[in-house]
Symmetry: C2
Subunit: 410 residues, 2 copies
């Protein structure tokens, strides 16, 4: 009986990055409307000032602030009406001392003016306007470049594009943006017992979960699933499938066949198909210990042997492969939700524990309730909102201890 | 000068729901692989037991637990080897007292057996197997229906489909799932000053942000953007655009033209185009006060006049229209991240304040730093990770006070 000599997560991550640190993730230039959720591949500078002219932030009267000094609710200052600025047009005139000009919200503030008095505090009288407030220099006025200066960094590489980033790109007149293309990932689910979702099942068979669940997680993570197939526990068939997938993918993820049973052939197949081959055989993680990681230099492909149990496979995918994409694209880690654990929780000495939890509201913040279940049970994950990580050096968690919940899907 | 009589958010939400509580959001039946991120439209029951037979969770020997009573590391129990179960096949035989059978991980446990001893604790000797552990009834065995029982609720209406939900559907043999179809939303951005992202700008013009940013937020929220266009501040043109959009959309969102300036025509247009028309004119929210909400019974359309400032428009869209989708689909509110505010923050009496914040790590959890900026400045939002809500009855926040940060994009 061979014992696995396992890597810690950090050890395995260093080895994995060493294999792929020469990778340059391809970049797509897309219309900004199509970049939602993608990761920006370059720092982008503003090609023009935003706004490109001094804009009023209110409906009001552009004034020279000094002219309004001392004005108040009962003591107006009277200014000569010099004209009205039209929306979307140049002001076309400049203000001299003692003058004012009507400016709509977003309209151009005429040269000479240095503040805007709100229309609510002004009253026109013939060719004059009574101003009932003492305007401070710059009040209700957006400066040229106040939102972004021409040439300044507007958005940084690694930013996930949200609606407001699309807005900022639009504001700057950037119609196309460079975002990382998805890496290509091939999924292979091995097992003689696996039946497709709609197949008629025979005794002893179960439905294949992993190509579906891992495929969705891969897509959520930013991979392109280049192929997904079920292969019997047969070394020849599996090796052929792996070799084929290596030609068309950056990463081949095989689930199943990585424990110590007689039918477990993934390790042999990876050893034969890849050179230098396996660099991690067993991961100090619970669930997910029977994980294999390898690399093939000729095809420049990472090969991951994930556990067959769906919960374990999803955990290891997150920890190694979702993490890898963030490393390569510079995307920051998602935020976790601080909470208190609802019970004592045993750790697993020498292994990092990923414990699914459900979140609920307590009197004082969130409570994280562990969801227990066998690693083969997908209901463990559907009942969970996220997971907590218990460090491999930690002896466990006490009821009420602070934890951080990593929310699934964020 | 007409003063706005504003609704609180809760008042406006009740009125909005009253208009649309007869809406039945259409349902799409999609292949499960295409349901990621969608909202489940019905409770789904498991059509078959998961797993459909008793499965071993380890490589080991199926035993009758009572036979192993008293066994231990140095005192094995010897059991007759009755055969090996093949993966994906029926066991084909049953165990009698004194017998055992090899079962791989995921293999069928033969009738008669009630536990599995791990292969690591067993040793074959000819036609016998030495078992070095006392197996408890049910150990290393998944019961029929343990993950989900036939007929039990597998997933509830309103669940957002994550990778694990797709896995659960696959496990249950459900190949297609009913998810809510997106509601149709038309976007109209009004303003004489608006230039398209790639247009050559003239003095006094600025780039249109709202169709891009609101379009992305609408898509993220689960709307289908049925049309998006820029219209000049012209009552006739705007009314024609609104009437056209009402025929092809469930919601028409107009941004710009809802403040009190001379060019503000949205309210008049909604009043003419819709009957019974406007039900909320002004919202007790900061930013976002100049918001108009209306309804047209004949076309069964909601018409929202959002502020022109992009930050305000995005806030109001989230508060009213993203919220509306969750109400109609039963999706739960996303989790917020508890944090401490980094400074004193003034509230706005009688208005609910939505304050963008950036999150950073403190010694003891997250710190929320307010990002200040004029409502027209999109950089206020690109620098923010989320927002906090200050209740309209609250006088402000003190430095260090606990807040909950709603993360953008979650």
């Amino acid at each position: 009986m061979k014992l696995l000599t396992v890597d810690t997560i950090d050890e395995a991550r260093v080895k994995l990055l060493n294999c792929v640190n020469h990778w340059k993730v391809p970049v797509n230039r897309l219309e900004i409307a199509k970049t939602l959720g993608r990761i920006l591949a370059e720092d982008l500078c503003a090609p023009e000032d935003i706004p490109p002219f001094r804009r009023s932030t209110v409906d009001g009267y552009a004034v020279i602030a000094a002219d309004t000094s001392g004005a108040g609710e009962s003591i107006p200052v009277y200014l000569k009406f010099a004209g009205a600025v039209e929306m979307g047009k140049a002001a076309g005139f400049s203000l001299k001392s003692g003058q004012c000009a009507y400016v709509p919200t977003g309209g151009m503030i005429p040269d000479g003016a240095d503040a805007v008095a709100m229309v609510e505090h002004c009253e026109p009288f013939g060719d004059e306007v009574a101003v009932y407030e003492s305007a401070a220099v710059g009040s209700h006025a957006a400066r040229i470049g106040e939102d972004a200066q021409k040439g300044s960094v507007l958005l940084r590489r690694g930013a996930r594009i949200r609606p407001q980033e699309i807005g900022a790109l639009a504001a700057a007149g950037i119609a196309e943006a460079p975002v990382y293309a998805p890496l290509r990932l091939a999924l292979i689910s091995t097992g003689d017992e696996l039946a497709a979702p709609s197949a008629q099942m025979r005794p002893g068979e179960i439905r294949d979960i992993n190509t579906q669940a891992l495929g969705a997680l891969a897509a959520e993570t930013g991979y392109h699933v280049s192929s997904a197939r079920i292969v019997k526990d047969d070394e020849t068939l599996l090796e052929a499938a792996v070799r084929e997938a290596m030609q068309t993918s950056d990463i081949v993820a095989i689930s199943g066949g990585s424990s110590q049973g007689t039918k477990d052939v993934t390790a042999q197949v990876i050893s034969r198909a890849a050179s230098p081959g396996i660099f991690t055989h067993g991961l100090a993680i619970k669930p997910g210990k029977p994980t294999i990681l390898g690399y093939d230099r000729a095809s420049d492909t990472v090969i991951a042997g994930l556990p067959g149990h769906p919960v374990s496979a999803l955990v290891v995918f997150r920890v190694m492969l979702s993490w890898l994409v963030r490393q390569l694209t510079g995307e920051k880690e998602p935020y976790a939700v601080p909470a208190k654990i609802s019970c004592n929780l045993a750790a697993s000495p020498g292994r990092t524990v990923y414990q699914p939890v459900a979140l609920c509201r307590g009197d004082d913040g969130y409570i994280a309730e562990p969801v227990f279940g066998k690693a083969g049970m997908i209901s463990t994950l559907t009942a969970a909102d996220g997971y907590i990580v218990i460090d491999l050096n930690k002896e466990g968690l006490c009821d009420g201890e602070s934890v951080e919940v990593n929310i699934f899907g964020s």
